[in-house]
């Protein structure tokens, strides 16, 4: 090893950087292409041959997209559905997770297994029964329907993430609070939650992204009033090529804030993804 010395290390470094650059280009290219396309004039998006960089910068696509979809309303619906469902899923999910962790019975072990099973149910399979329940409750095409359904479908994930975090909270902590005369619910919110904030943040950010990106449930449960942005986006598909320009603008507008957030909140996203699989 010594006989190659520094040169070998330097060549290795250069190779690593070259491969790295290749991957960066590969992974950034699609999204960059979408972003750049959105700032082309509408005709250039479908020009033959295609261009990568806009020949002419234009915000035409952004002005045009409001002719195809109701932007304000569908963004509002997406925001309500995402934040509302995240609040419920994290609040109730973490309470459930805490109960599962603290009651060391065979039943709770079985329930944990059931939650894990529910986490992997394909949404496409249960979307229609959920649709029936929502219709039965008279909630079709309401934002409440989306909030309820998304809270429920994301709850197993919240429970899964929070179980991992609550396991590292020592029982002596709740015992001490109980001795001081605090009620269980006060103990949970004043003592347990503050030391599990990192887990709560992970679960919240994760469910927020999932709910924001949801397509299938919104497709099934809404039509005109509570339709979210993802369903609006999909409507560009049925139309002619001419709408692809505004489609790129809408896609970019919808996903760009999320990506910026994701970069800043990376730590929590990594925690959420690796929950239950990697010991921190």
């Amino acid at each position: 090893m010594l006989k190659f010395g520094k040169n070998n290390i330097r060549i290795g470094r250069i190779a690593v950087i070259a491969v790295m650059l290749f991957f960066i280009v590969l992974f950034l290219f699609p999204y960059l292409f979408l972003g750049l396309s959105s700032f082309k004039p509408s005709y250039e998006v479908i020009s033959i041959p295609p261009t990568f960089f806009p020949k002419k910068l234009s915000i035409e696509n952004y002005q045009e997209m409001k002719n195809y979809i109701n932007i304000g309303k569908s963004i509002f619906n997406s925001v309500v559905a995402a934040f509302g469902s995240t609040f419920i899923a994290v609040l109730l999910g973490s309470l459930s997770a805490f109960a599962l962790v603290r009651s060391r019975t065979k039943l709770s072990a079985a329930l944990i297994a059931i939650v894990f099973f529910l986490k992997m149910i394909p949404l496409a399979a249960i979307a229609v029964p959920i649709y029936r329940i929502i219709t039965y409750l008279g909630l079709y095409d309401t934002r409440i329907a989306l909030v309820l359904a998304l809270s429920a479908t994301n709850m197993p994930l919240v429970i899964w993430i929070m179980i991992g975090f609550f396991q590292s909270v020592p029982v002596s902590l709740d015992e001490a609070a109980c001795v001081d005369g605090a009620t269980p619910i006060v103990t949970f919110f004043r003592v347990i939650l503050p030391v599990s904030m990192s887990g709560i943040a992970t679960a919240a950010i994760f469910t927020l992204f999932l709910a924001w990106n949801d397509f299938l449930l919104s497709l099934m449960l809404t039509s005109t009033e509570a339709k979210t942005f993802t369903v609006s986006l999909s409507e560009f598909l049925g139309s002619y090529q001419i709408n692809l320009g505004p489609m790129t603008a809408a896609s970019f507008l919808f996903s760009f804030p999320v990506i910026i957030m994701a970069i800043f909140l990376q730590k929590y996203i990594v925690q959420g993804l690796t929950a239950g699989a990697v010991k921190e």
């Binding site: 991957f23 999204y31 419920i88 309470l95 459930s96 297994a113 029964p129 397509f215 996903s255 921190e280």
Partner: protein, 292 residues
């Protein structure tokens, strides 16, 4: 110490949500799968007829095979790419963290946006990929490869979008595994003169195997459930060549309104996933105890 009654009160509200929107739908499906439904709400008990029809029908076997191919191609490509990236990022080099942040961007993009993006890139006429391939001389005409319109390759084209979207996940998991390896062992191997390949196959790979298997299992289940990406790219076409089970279920229900048959497909699908989970994810059933 909290008593059982209190814990039950903690557990119930969340459990009710899951009961109403996850457990009840599953039971409803099980019941539905034994009936045929006709317009006007008439339904008839048919026993296992829906299941019989399913196992003898090409309309089920084809998407089942498609799903298996989709999972196998997407997940193995993600594993290989993710491993290369994880090994690279495990070395300290200037800009490591920043570059990693950028590579993670696809992770939080909505699958539907990923689908739309790739639909634009893979288009035969005005898609940039074919135009690039012509430029570097790999194909002579943009019509040579019809990514989404050729029944032979549409399914694999859909995999591309999936690979782009979730390779970062695989990389993160494997990287977390690599970071958890004992550095002393690796150093000792270096001193003993082990080369990079020996270190990878004899130390790193066995060391991260549990994490790797978990990551693969999670991805297998997720890839099998894919709906949005394929729906946007091809809607399962052309000629059902890229139809996955989740699309078959959706279509059977929404387009053809065959509740009983679609429920039977869904039940078999869920059972297959469950069997997979029981075999490969046993260790995950009980979350690992973390020592704090």
């Amino acid at each position: 110490m909290m008593n059982k009654k209190v814990l039950l009160m903690f557990f119930l509200p969340g459990a009710l949500f899951m009961l109403l929107f996850l457990v009840v739908p599953i039971f409803q499906m099980i019941i539905n799968s034994f009936f045929t439904y006709e317009l006007g709400g008439v339904h008839e008990f048919v026993g296992f007829a829906n299941y019989q029809r399913l196992f003898t029908s090409k309309a089920f076997l084809k998407p089942l095979i498609n799903t298996a191919i989709y999972v196998a191609v997407a997940v193995s490509a993600e594993l290989v790419l993710g491993m290369i990236l994880a090994l690279l990022f495990n070395n300290p080099f200037p800009g490591n963290t920043i570059i990693r942040s950028f590579l993670l961007t696809p992770l939080m993009i909505a699958p539907i946006v990923a689908g739309l993006t790739w639909k634009l890139i893979l288009n035969t006429q005005y898609g940039i990929l074919n135009s690039l391939l012509v430029k570097i001389g790999l194909i002579s005409n943009v019509n040579d490869i019809m990514w989404l319109a050729d029944p032979k390759i549409a399914l694999y084209s859909c995999c591309i979008a999936d690979i782009w979207l979730t390779t970062p996940f695989m990389m993160l998991m494997l990287l977390a595994g690599l970071k958890g390896l004992d550095k002393n062992v690796l150093e000792a191997a270096s001193i003993d003169g082990a080369n990079a390949f020996q270190k990878f196959f004899q130390i790193k790979l066995p060391g991260i195997l549990p994490v790797l298997l978990t990551a693969v299992s999670i991805r297998v289940v997720d890839a099998a459930r894919t709906f949005d990406i394929v729906w946007v790219l091809t809607q399962g076409g052309p000629q059902n060549s890229s139809e996955l089970l989740s699309i078959t279920i959706y279509r059977t229900l929404v387009r053809y309104n065959e509740v009983g048959y679609a429920s039977a497909i869904a039940i078999v699908f869920i059972l297959l996933l469950l069997i997979f989970a029981l075999i490969f994810m046993r260790d995950m059933w009980k979350p690992k105890r973390r020592n704090a």
